[in-house]
């Protein structure tokens, strides 16, 4: 029974990891950029939510309505000012600029908010749960996270396949130069992709803030979890990313059953095992 319970918790936790991963997967798909500061931007969003909640007294989920557009704007500007100039040169430039950004965000947060760990109170939803029989129950908050991840992926699939923005993403991803010749402004398309990624980052950040304690140094591990979900799921597949998040979440939940010290380690080990047996991930779509 305890194992079954851990499995359910792991699957739901996978939703949060899929949220970490979706934004990472999106910008890699559109412009082959891996954002090392991804996790730090998630933590930054968590702090933004904290500031909004403290200033207005709103519920964290309502505060998200302010954090999401704010982060999207940040993402747009970030791409236009710092990241666009690095693209098309080599692998190293975007990697190092986002690495620098990661260090800047961590230490700026540390200066302003100290190293104390914080958490956002979400009220009764934190402890509410649904009984599903057999002595098992599902927490409402983890369920909400999982459903949010599904919603985000459905929305992304819709944007990619049905909207003109999505068409611009796909065209630029296939061949940036020809897309430019067809009248697409590459710099704007990339910035829109980063804005969308940052909006998902904001959602992930608010959920992170109500689910666990966070402090300025917790960003890199969120990046790693997101990255593992992307690779386990297979590059380029959004539903694969959700599957990757679930595999990672289950591995961690089962690891924690053995010994709390093994929780994160078990996730890493499963990641490497999948790299051994299926180097292209579970549902690969892209080379």
């Amino acid at each position: 029974m305890e194992i079954l319970n851990a499995l359910i918790q792991g699957v739901l936790l996978g939703g949060l990891y899929a949220l970490f991963a979706a934004g990472l997967s999106l910008i890699f798909g559109v412009m082959r950029l891996v954002n090392i500061a991804h996790g730090d931007l998630i933590v930054l969003s968590a702090y933004l939510a904290l500031v909004v909640v403290q200033a207005t007294g709103l519920h964290p989920f309502v505060a998200a309505l302010a954090v999401v557009p704010l982060m999207a704007l940040t993402g747009y500007v970030l791409q236009r000012v710092l990241l666009n100039p690095t693209l098309g040169r080599d692998l190293l430039s975007p990697l190092l600029v986002t690495f620098g950004l990661s260090i800047i965000i961590q230490n700026a947060l540390l200066t302003h908010f100290t190293a104390d760990s914080r958490r956002l109170a979400a009220g009764p939803i934190e402890t509410a749960s649904l009984g599903i029989g057999g002595g098992l129950s599902i927490g409402l908050l983890p369920l909400a996270m999982f459903l949010a991840a599904v919603a985000v992926i459905v929305a992304l699939e819709f944007v990619f396949s049905r909207t003109s923005l999505g068409r611009a993403f796909r065209a630029t991803s296939d061949d940036a130069e020809i897309a430019q010749l067809m009248g697409l402004d590459r710099r704007h398309v990339y910035a829109m992709a980063m804005a969308l990624s940052a909006a998902i980052i904001a959602i992930a950040g608010v959920f992170l803030a109500v689910r666990t304690n966070f402090d300025p140094s917790t960003g890199p591990l969120r990046l790693i979890f997101g990255f593992e979900a992307v690779i386990i799921g297979g590059l380029g597949s959004l539903w694969g990313t959700l599957a990757g998040g679930v595999v990672l979440g289950v591995a961690q939940a089962l690891g924690a059953q053995i010994d709390p010290g093994y929780q994160v380690l078990a996730g890493h080990i499963v990641f490497f095992l999948i790299l051994v047996v299926r180097p292209r991930g579970l549902f690969p779509r892209m080379d």
Partner: protein, 338 residues
Amino acid sequence: MAPHVKIERGTRTSRIAGRLALVLLAALAAAPWWTGRANLRLLGEFYTFVALASLWNLLAGYAGLVSVGQQAFVGFGGYVLFAAAMFYGVPPLLAIVLAGVVGALIALPMAPLLFRLHGAYFAIGTWVAAEVFRLSFAQVSVLGGGSGTSLPARLVTGIAATRDQRDMLLYWCALALGLGTVAMIYALLRSRAGLALAAIRDSEIASESLGIDIFRTKLAIYVATAAVTSMVGALIFLQKLRISPDAAFSVNDWTAYVIFIVVIGGIGTIEGPIVGAIVFFLLRETLADLGTIYLVILGMVAIAVMLKAPRGLWGSFSHRTGIVLFPLRRRVVHPDAR
């Protein structure tokens, strides 16, 4: 009649610089007699960062293997030294060499796995590997688990009887390791393997069609770098006399700073990491009081250099003046032209 031509690599500047470097080295080797303990420690730390930066530069700047997980080997080397000295009675200085051997052995199976990831994903993959090391060593209770352990006093006094002698010995070890690393990389890049590396860097497809085995070349560089990085790690924690998983496998200390050093100094040059390390230590010693703001400034400097002068300080200087202290290129020289 064919003109008499010679193939040369040295330049006048490089020969003069070589002689000056010998004088500087003699002075640095004699440092225990002309400076105090604090400066000796600082210089020793400087040499280890020159070594780490040069090694990372070899990986990323020459072999195209951008790793953000070299802390795996720094920490692993440190732990090998502590374990070998504490449980098997290996003399600490000998354990530094042992750390290099074990570091190579552990890197050998890791490389084929990590090479399945490309580009930036390789980078994060190396980071995950380093996290596996950190979390695993945190589980080893005989080495203090998550809180770490100190080198027992009897082992410390076993290195040398007095503190002054110990400081001198470790200083010379650091100097030898820093110098040896730079010399090894210089020799490697001038050799056949160096030529293969340059070819791979310029075009993987073209070099492969000429018969260069890309996988084996990259594997060799990765394993050699891991070995020397482990030795540097062993020395770093011998200087500190204390090790813990968080300090040993710190991504900030052993990778972020090192990457900034290389980027600021000039990636893809032998001089760059040395220049970068000098700048890094000057910044650190003058701005350290600022605390976390100092790291924000460092990150901004690195981003600014990457965007505005991607060749770095030395690369830009060398590009403008043509001055190269460690010449790698072969040039055709006409005897009449001299």
